[in-house]
């Protein structure tokens, strides 16, 4: 990138600039991802442990009895990676393994996969008990943002 063919005396300064630039790039690349739910989910916020139980498909109903519907995007989608790392503190392959272990032992079901953020938005807006995630710019008033404690 910018640090090709640098002259020795200016290397330090340029390297610093490069690192700072990289940091900005990294921030830019990481999506600002938010946890979103159907509007009838009546919560102010949700704890990280509860969120992990929901996304590892171990928790199947909301406290009011509504079945939980979990929506995710593919393992290789950047938004999914960011959500898993930032909000759950795990890597996509760890989630995939947890789902597989339940699906193939008969102990649980898989989350519902959507292909696009548009589809995610529509599903969460129209499915009672739905929970998923969206990047900031794709969220509108059809869904509720749930802050994670």
């Amino acid at each position: 990138m910018i640090n090709h063919n640098m002259e020795p005396p200016r290397r330090m300064r340029k390297t610093k600039a490069f690192v700072v630039g990289l940091l900005f790039l990294a921030f830019d690349a990481a999506h600002a991802v938010d946890l979103v739910a159907n509007r009838d989910i009546d919560f102010e916020s949700i704890s990280k442990n509860t969120l992990r139980s929901i996304f590892s498909m171990r928790m199947t109903q909301w406290p009011d009895g509504t079945p939980i519907r979990v929506f995710v995007m593919g393992d290789k989608s950047a938004l999914h990676m960011d959500f898993a790392k930032q909000m759950l503190g795990v890597f996509p392959h760890q989630l995939r393994r947890a789902w597989n272990r339940q699906i193939y032992s008969g102990m649980g079901q898989a989350p519902i996969k959507v292909e696009t953020e548009q589809e995610m938005l529509e599903q969460i807006a129209t499915t009672p008990g739905a929970i998923g995630y969206l990047s900031e710019e794709n969220i509108d008033e059809q869904v509720r943002i749930l802050p994670v404690q």
Binding site: T60, L88, S105
Partner: protein
């Protein structure tokens, strides 16, 4: 019925209610189709999943998963399952499995599980309930999904804990399982207790008695067992204790009838950082022969074994691992010398030490590819069905394997 690998798993042990569940599962399929248009969310409650795995095995000596000295393709696993969530409290699921593993398993279709899982009490993340039907035994970290390539720790299960030659002995039970999960902040405690009938097959018969005796076995009573599991921080650290015990009544063509009491205990620990993980499991299996006019008393022993495996994910979709494992026919005779001279066979029949290096590539959410190389000293985990002449087994051998798997 074929001479080898004949499985009584689906026939001999299919009790009427297993057949009922099977029927129920088949009923679910047309129901989901006809109701899909009437109820918006119905198709979310019914799920179908499956997997298709093909392996290739090449060994320098001995036979493992087929005629592996010439390169064997006789390692194939096919599974399909269906589940229906009646409510957040009730889940019914059925899986059919076909497994071809050399001379050990012939690929016939078995009911892998057919169960109804009912939560009797649920609050937040805590639940307590019962599973009825044929369920996979919760045993060690991997037993309940050992036939699914996407969840195994390698192409082959670590033989020190999860023997393929006696796989059915702990695979599943027909009966009931009680479970309880309790979470306090970052600590999760799980208890699973089970009691049921275990499907016994020819692999079990020919592992605990010499095939030359043409052994036939029936389970005496029930298998009782369970697992205690502790998880910290969403699986960053896992610790588990598992145990099961069963008794087999055996008849042979040469000796008076007798019985074999088998206990099976596993201690498991895993640290999972995300990009790398470290796994350790230790197994102990006391065997107690009685009857047979005392002829088998000499075989009383406590088997043990362990493995330690380190995984490192160096790319989003690629992982490398290394594993060392050891198995001993007699935990007090780790090189098999005393046992060998007592029974009259080479010492290497009574232990194994395996070092493995493996690579995993998850090409997509659905496709995966594995490649592994193992150096083996010892022959204890080789099947008698695949290596019928003990004197022909070679002590030091190498094992190379490839596996491709598709799952949905």
């Amino acid at each position: 019925m074929s001479k080898y690998g004949y499985s009584r798993y689906s026939k001999g042990t299919a009790r009427p209610w297993v057949r009922c569940l099977r029927g129920l599962a088949l009923l679910l399929i047309p129901a989901s189709v006809s109701l899909a248009s009437e109820r918006v969310n119905f198709d979310e409650d019914v799920q179908f999943h499956g997997f298709l795995t093909q392996g290739y095995v090449k060994t320098t000596d001995n036979s493992f998963f087929g005629d592996s000295q010439d390169g064997s393709w006789d390692f194939r696993e096919l599974g399909i399952n269906s589940s229906y969530r009646f409510s957040p409290q009730i889940l019914a699921s059925v899986q059919l499995l076909s497994r071809k593993a050399g001379e050990m398993y012939d690929g016939s279709i078995d009911v892998d599980f057919a169960q109804i899982d009912t939560t009797l009490y649920m609050q937040d993340q805590n639940r307590f309930g019962v599973i009825l039907g044929r369920y996979k035994n919760p045993f060690g970290l991997y037993n309940d999904t050992r036939d699914v390539a996407a969840t195994r720790p390698g192409i082959f299960m670590p033989q020190a804990i999860y023997w393929d030659r006696v796989r059915n002995m702990v695979l599943s039970s027909d009966g009931a399982q009680l479970f309880g999960h309790y979470q306090v902040e970052e600590h999760r405690f799980s208890v699973q207790l089970f009691r049921g009938r275990t499907p016994i097959d020819e692999n079990v018969e020919n592992s605990y008695l010499n095939p030359a005796l043409d052994p036939s076995m029936e389970q005496d009573g029930y298998t009782t067992g369970g697992r205690l599991l502790y998880e910290w921080d969403g699986g960053r650290f896992i610790f588990a204790l598992s145990g099961a015990s069963l008794a087999l009544d055996a008849t042979t063509n040469a000796l008076p009838p007798g019985s074999i009491d088998i206990d099976y205990r596993v201690l498991s620990a895993q640290y999972n950082q995300g990009l790398w993980s470290l796994t350790f499991e230790y197994m102990q299996e006391p065997l107690d022969y009685s009857g047979f006019a005392g002829a088998m008393d000499v075989a009383d022993t406590t088997l043990d074994g362990y493995y330690i495996q380190g995984n490192y994910r160096f790319r989003n979709d690629m992982e490398v691992f290394t594993r060392y494992e050891e198995s001993h026919y007699d935990m007090h005779d780790k090189r098999g010398e005393a046992t060998g001279s007592r029974i009259g066979l080479d010492a290497h029949n009574f232990y194994s030490r395996v070092s493995t290096l493996g690579l995993l590539w998850e090409i997509s959410d659905r496709w995966m590819l594995r490649s592994e190389f193992s150096r083996v000293d010892g022959t204890i985990f080789l099947s008698n069905l695949e290596n019928p002449v003990p004197q022909d087994k070679v002590r030091n051998w190498n094992l190379f394997s490839l596996l491709v798997s598709y799952s949905f």
